[in-house]
């Protein structure tokens, strides 16, 4: 079979509207057909509804661990964005390729696939694994079923490269991220009798204020990691709503908050402190007035951070592929933390394009970035034999 160019494959991939709310099965079928023509039988791991799938494939010797190249197939919506060209048609202009997903992150997947024939031919000592997921953009949801599947596999990858856009810089860390929904339950009363009721909004406000005081403490006292733009853990309330009319003491208040913790800051400890505050300070004060009141905190998403040591083999290996010695940490969350945390696979992030172009109208990847990534793959091919 003759080699297909990265750009031809990228054109195909961009043509599938894999916004997270849609199915990604058509794209996956296309990839499966492509791989089967090369003699590779991929594994699809579907969601419960059968409408979306992860793909896992091994290229080269299947009896040993190799290098996993990972990316997500879903993209963020273009709703309300003003694009200069059709976001689902790959368009070249001024040495850039435009289209939704070009940098985040179908460009990387296209190059992986374009190199599949070489991986198959040259991988004699060590295989390449592909792991392509769905629903990354809505909280790293899809990859979790693939990870469960991989736990029972006899052979796991020795290392993983997640090709999120880093301008081909080697990224060893990103923060963990957990989000929570809070339901504060008070008691209703006419506002003239306010002290006899439990005001859910006021207790909710006390929690939000406590969360803010934690954020201020982390900002002042750390722990710190100077490799991040924001060098400490952040805690933030994104949504708050409670009360129906001014003259009724609010019976319910809902709050959504998140924290993004640096690697040296234990997420379990952070949420424990928050729960201690509500359980030991707020709820007893509420129940002193009315026993049926309370505060319920529910975890909505939890994605571990990535914190790969600069001295780990995977870092040196990927630096040699990228031909550079520096490394960095990034503000955005990826699936890399999950591979490291759940499967103990040493993982770094390195991919073409810049996060500054991701999620925006006129998203693009430059031809220069694609060329850098291809050089990266050339060197990877050399290491396989």
């Amino acid at each position: 079979m003759s080699a297909t160019s990265s750009r031809d494959i990228l054109r195909e991939l961009i043509g599938f509207d894999t916004t997270s709310r849609n199915s990604n099965l058509e794209l996956m079928e296309w990839v499966c057909t492509y791989l089967r023509k090369l003699g590779v039988e991929p594994l699809l791991v579907h969601n419960a509804e059968g409408t979306k799938a992860n793909l896992y494939a091994t290229l080269g010797p299947a009896d040993r661990s190799g290098v996993m190249l990972s990316g997500h197939t879903d993209v963020v919506p273009v709703d309300g964005q003003n694009w200069s060209n059709d976001p689902w048609t790959l368009t070249e202009r001024d040495d850039r390729l435009y289209g939704r997903g070009t940098c985040d992150m179908k460009g990387f997947i296209a190059i992986c696939l374009a190199y599949a024939p070489q991986f198959i031919e040259r991988a004699t000592s060590m295989p390449i694994h592909f792991a392509f997921s769905y629903d990354e953009e809505v909280g790293c949801v899809g990859v979790q079923t693939l990870i469960e599947k991989m736990k029972s596999m006899p052979i796991r990858p020795a290392m993983c490269i997640v090709g999120e856009p880093t301008d081909m810089q080697v990224v060893t860390g990103h923060k963990g991220k957990r989000s929570y929904r809070v339901a504060v339950t008070g008691t209703e009363a006419h506002s003239s009798l306010a002290p006899q009721a439990v005001n859910a909004v006021e207790y909710g406000a006390r929690l939000v204020t406590y969360l803010r005081s934690m954020a201020d403490r982390f900002s002042a006292d750390g722990p710190f990691d100077d490799m991040y733009d924001v060098t400490h853990t952040t805690v933030h309330t994104g949504i708050m709503g409670g009360g129906t009319a001014l003259n009724i003491v609010p019976q319910a208040c809902e709050i959504e908050f998140e924290f993004r913790n640096i690697g040296s800051h234990d997420g379990d400890e952070i949420i424990s402190e928050i729960r201690r505050y509500t359980d030991e300070i707020l709820v007893p004060a509420m129940r002193a007035v009315a026993p049926e009141t309370g505060i319920e905190i529910t975890e909505v998403t939890s994605a571990p951070g990535l914190d790969t040591g600069a001295d780990e083999d995977v870092v040196a290996f990927v630096k040699s592929l990228a031909e550079r010695n520096d490394h960095a940490k990034v503000a955005f969350a990826t699936e890399a933390g999950l591979f490291q945390d759940r499967l103990d696979i040493p993982t770094v992030i390195c991919g073409p394009g810049s996060i500054n172009q991701a999620h925006k109208p006129d998203e693009y990847v430059s031809l220069e970035q694609l060329a850098l990534c291809e050089r990266f793959m050339d060197r990877l091919v050399e290491k396989l034999s």
């Binding site: 923060k175 506002s191 003239s192 306010a194 005001n199 909004v201 939000v208 009360g243 129906t244």
Partner: protein
């Protein structure tokens, strides 16, 4: 003239409860129904409409117009049932265990039903002094109705001697009522992606600090006073009623809107309390917000400010209402009513006395007991006799 047709209080109440006069809705259908009822009895009504044609007050006089009479005043609107779990349909009067359930039974359609059921008796009696029925709109929100209705009362041919506002007081004459001041605070912050939270100004977080300040201020009044005995809550209260902000969890909220109120004892200076609150927002929170963004701000709008009242225990008005109600206890209330507005706009002594209890108001399964209806009917009987006595 034919004998006026008598309709029972409960029957009338059933009709009034069936109108969903939640303040956001028009009250006009209920006002029109009342005007129709009065018209069938030969009583003419004055309908007072302001800007919104869906909303109206009603004023009607029974008896001689050249003597100082008594105003029976009440509001027609009710608070929302949104999100409340009711044992029966809130807009269908339902009797259970000697209680009548329905939105507005306590606050305060039963008073209107009692007054309307009394009309045939007022008509039959040789009144020396008139009774005026005054029903307003939007008491639970803006109190706008009472303003124009108060002006209409002031324009009556003879100034009434007394206005009785039938808010739920267990048929006790209320000698004192707190003031009530309502505010909306808009917090304008700066949006940012949540991974860069310190670069933004989180409007929800500042609104929360403000809410905590208000809650603590209320706790201070509860602890340190001033206190006046006789009120359900013997001190000034501060309370946050609604708070909403933020659009998505991964964006620092740019905007948050918070509504709060305080209800002060008549002797506790509202200007002082207002100053304390505004100064925390303007001198503490806003400068902190502006450290990050010079455009960040807090805008506080006082959309309602109504003073309370305090009447002398020994005044003729208090003595009269006590004799009509049959209760002599000294009662003061912490909720708001239109009495202060009528006292102000119409310059007549105004006080609260009405059936039911405020504890049941605004709650799911709001009710009035049949005992309270009976007490109210006795009140109307005594009032009829009183109005027949020459000056």
């Amino acid at each position: 003239m034919a004998e006026p047709k008598h309709t029972s209080t409960v029957e009338i109440l059933e009709s009034l409860i069936a109108f969903d006069t939640t303040s956001r809705n028009p009250n006009r259908p209920m006002i029109d129904w009342i005007a129709g009822y009065l018209s069938d009895l030969g009583v003419e009504s004055t309908i007072v409409v302001d800007d919104d044609p869906g909303k109206a007050n009603l004023l009607a006089t029974i008896g001689p117009t050249d003597a100082p009479g008594i105003v029976l005043a009440g509001h027609t609107d009710v608070v929302p049932v949104d999100g409340q779990t009711w044992g029966s349909d809130p807009f269908t009067l339902t009797e259970r265990d000697g209680r009548l359930f329905g939105r507005g039974t306590a606050d305060m359609k039963s008073w209107a039903a009692l007054a309307l059921a009394g009309v045939p008796r007022f008509l039959e009696a040789p009144l020396c002094r008139p009774v005026h029925l005054a029903f307003s709109y939007d008491e639970e929100t803006t109190c706008l109705g009472a303003v124009s209705l108060g002006d209409a009362i002031a324009a009556l041919p003879t100034r009434p001697a007394l206005c009785i506002v039938g808010e739920p007081s267990g048929m006790r004459a209320v000698t004192g009522q707190k003031g009530c001041y309502c505010f909306t605070a808009e917090f304008q912050g700066l949006a940012a992606h949540s991974s860069l939270a310190p670069d933004g100004v989180n409007a929800v977080e500042y609104a929360s600090r403000f809410a905590v300040f208000l809650s603590d201020l209320s706790a201070t009044f509860a602890r340190e006073g001033p206190f006046v005995a006789g009120y359900d809550v013997p001190h000034t209260t501060v309370h946050v009623g609604t708070c909403r902000g933020g659009t998505a969890l991964n964006i620092v909220p740019e905007h948050c809107r918070l509504e709060f109120e305080f209800r002060n004892l008549p002797g506790h200076d509202a200007a002082d309390i207002r100053r304390t609150i505004l100064s925390f927002a303007n001198d503490v929170l806003e400068p902190d917000m502006r450290l990050v963004s010079p455009d960040a701000r807090i805008e506080i709008d006082e959309w309602s400010g109504l003073p309370g009242y305090a009447l002398d225990d020994e005044s003729v008005e208090v003595q009269l209402v006590r004799s009509l109600s049959g209760h002599n206890d000294d009662v003061k209330v912490t909720y708001f009513s239109e009495a202060g507005i009528y006292a102000d706009r119409a310059a007549i002594p105004s006080l609260i006395c009405g059936p039911g209890f405020i504890d049941q108001a605004h709650k799911p399964d709001e009710f009035i007991s049949l005992d309270q209806i009976t007490e109210g009917e006795r009140f109307m009987d005594r009032l009829t006799s009183y109005l027949c006595r020459p000056g």
